[in-house]
Amino acid sequence: MKNARYRIGWLCSFVPEEIVMAAGLLPLRLSGQGEAATVADAYIYSNLCPYVRSILALGINGKANGLDGLVFVRSCDGMRRMYDLWRSYVGTRFTYMLEVPKNRDGTAMEYYASQLRKFASALEQEFGVKITTASLNQAVKTANQVRKLMQQIYKLQRGVPLPLPGSEVFQLGLEGMRMDKESFVAKLKKYYSKAKSQVKQRGGKGKVRVLISGNVVDRPELFNLIEAAGADVAAADLCTAMRYFDYPVEENSDDPYLALAQRYLGKLRCARITGLAEHFAELKELVKTYAVDGVVYTSVKFCDQHLYDAPYLMEKLKDDRIPVLFLENDYTWGNIGQLKTRVEAFVEMLDSGRR
């Protein structure tokens, strides 16, 4: 949707961009980076998710004015209340709360599909557009192309030594969330073809390999820190990385809304979805697939979804002799200096474990 007239922001990887694209609109992930969240203090507690606070600050400071719409998701307590605050104190032409179930069984899929249809109708009504099964299936194909290429890149990352810097792949993915998908597909094709040739040129045992798992990371500082400490980031199980790109949507479905519901609810599990044991199983599978030596589990401060899960997941990982480091961050990574020693010690520990 390179020439889309309207720009629709989104905040959570459960928002199917395909529906926005099928309406001829441009979906863009909104990041609160670079925004001092203090202005939000008059509206929201300082012990609330710094991602939520930064986005709210962005809106209050008028820096989201370029958006014609913003789509929220009932991701968590903070986000559902931010929807209220946004409507009351910021406002966008189209402000929408998309209902996403927290369970992922058949009833939940059907309910989610019904909510996606409602979302499509709301877009049609507001922007005077028509979403057809054909336009939706076309958007699914385009989004799947992005997924397929990103998955191919991540597949390269299973190789030893790691062919591409994890920080670079992560930033590439972030870029894709903030540009039109057709241009991104073109960029990815070029990148992938160059990356494939690099794989053949490299050899050796490689560095210590790390999986980053957590929630919303919008900056490369942690990746840079791990790489500077002498390790590679082989994979990133984050809302802003693999959880955005994994699994395709069924193409040419008779019911594309149900197909979208199945993909989005069935994607790599984030902490808002029920099933702690399943979450651990998926994490373990990633450890195996990407042959990592350890996990860095990171969460923005005050994220209940992750802070509750963290001790249990860490305990289980340790039971399975998978080293894990838990790092809380303030979303801006202003505390990166404090984390340096811990990351270096962790990488050193992983390295000595390999010898």
Binding site: Y45, K102, Y111, R272, L307, Y308
Partner: protein, 403 residues
């Protein structure tokens, strides 16, 4: 340890009840008896959320409902030091101080082996993420199934069908746990009992409009949370009728406490020992209503109980867009002639606290003094007696100046 605590609590309440047969003692005896049943060897124990789960459904089965939040948080009022000790056991296992003290206390109690068995662990997404998370963690430790009743933020025929469908799935799980098929006649009887209690609860709410307020504000807040645990049983109506009787008796005898200021209480009332009641009593302040004490739901449809229960979940003030909560607050401000409104913001209650500005602005439109009182539900380490005194006394001065 918790079991002994409930036994002592029940014993002292029963002894007191012999001397003074008061509603609150009836309530305490019933609550502690239910909690104690969960420790019985042959009990089928279903963990749940007393204050938001449709308890009529559990009442229709031979299961013992157990809520780890309520079960643990009777303790901080009686023994704050012991509660903190238990919380530190969870903190030592990595549960952050940024998490709700209710849940740190529950996790600590589990690690100390204080809890009864669990045959099934239910929770709802109504109020907060923390409760459902804790439920899932505990289910892992118990090796039992956790089910979350997922309540969407929107009210539509689709969301009613979604919630109703989940309740039917839960009913099937309860059949497995209790080894009994769901008896629809019994469920309908539970719904009838709940509807009768709803009428009594409404009468109680009407009585609370009386000046001076004839009951106890802290108990009113407590009842608005825990009262739902008896939904579906005849006891719920009996309890409300007994409170009505006591209030009417006090009014007739002229023994109601004097009142200078009337307060609407928003969000939670601390479970731990505080100086709030002492300050209020000294300054003749009554909490006359709590936002959760409002009858916000319609009568449950006996012919379609699952849909009725789903509708009540979806109409909860803490569900849906903020207008659902604000409409309730505005209605209470209209009806209860209050001099001020206080929002108690317990540190980690993100969903309630994140609305403070919206509520403040709504209350300000009516030129009613509003206070956000920060504190903690159960952790005395995060509660300041002097700060609370200063804030409440300043607020009382403000209300006096406005009179």
């Amino acid at each position: 340890m918790l079991k002994n605590f409930y036994e002592q609590m029940r014993k002292s309440s029963e002894e007191e009840f012999q001397r003074r047969p008061r509603a609150w003692l009836m309530y305490t005896i019933q609550l502690t008896s239910t909690l104690l049943k969960a420790f019985e060897e042959d009990a089928k124990v279903v963990w749940t959320t007393y204050y938001s789960f449709p308890m009529e459904l559990l009442a229709a089965f031979n299961v013992v409902p157990f809520d780890f939040e309520i079960a643990c948080n009777l303790l901080p009022g009686a023994d704050p030091k012991c509660s903190v000790d238990i919380m530190t056991k969870a903190e030592a296992r990595g549960y952050s101080l940024d998490l709700c003290s209710f849940h740190r206390l529950a996790l600590g109690s589990y690690f100390q082996g204080y809890f009864p068995r669990a045959d099934l662990l239910l929770s709802t997404s109504h109020f907060c993420d923390g409760k459902t998370k804790t439920n899932q963690i505990l289910a892992q430790y118990y090796g039992k199934e956790a089910i979350m009743l997922d309540i969407p933020n929107e009210l539509s025929k689709e969301s009613v069908a979604y919630v109703s469908g989940q309740l039917q799935t839960i009913a099937c799980k309860l059949e497995e746990v209790s080894a009994h098929k769901l008896d629809f006649d019994r469920l309908r009887e539970c719904v009838r009992a709940s509807n009768r209690a709803r009428i009594a609860y409404g009468r109680l709410g009407e009585l609370f409009k009386t000046k001076p307020f004839p009951w106890d504000g802290a108990r009113l807040c407590n009842l608005s949370i825990i009262g739902n645990m008896f939904a579906g049983t005849p006891f719920q109506e009996q309890l409300y009728l007994k409170i009505i009787e006591e209030c009417e008796q006090r009014m007739a005898e002229g023994t109601v406490l004097p009142e200078e200021f009337r307060i609407l209480w928003l969000a939670w009332f601390p479970a731990q020992r505080t100086n709030i009641n002492e300050i209020f009593r000294k300054n003749k302040v009554s909490i006359v209503m709590s936002e959760l004490a409002r009858v916000y739901w319609d009568e449950l449809d006996e012919a379609n109980p699952f849909e009725g229960m789903a509708l009540r979940c979806l109409k909860n003030p803490y569900v849906g867009p903020i207008e659902q909560r604000l409409n309730g607050v505005n209605r209470l401000l209209d009806q209860y002639a209050v001099d001020g409104a206080i929002h108690f913001s317990t540190t980690a209650c993100r969903h309630a606290n994140a609305s403070f500005r919206l509520i403040k602005d709504a209350v300000a439109k009516r030129d009613i003094p509003f206070l956000v009182l920060d504190g903690d539900m159960s952790d005395e380490r995060s509660y300041s007696v002097e700060k609370t005194r200063f804030l409440l006394e300043s607020f009382i001065e403000l209300m006096a100046a406005r009179k």
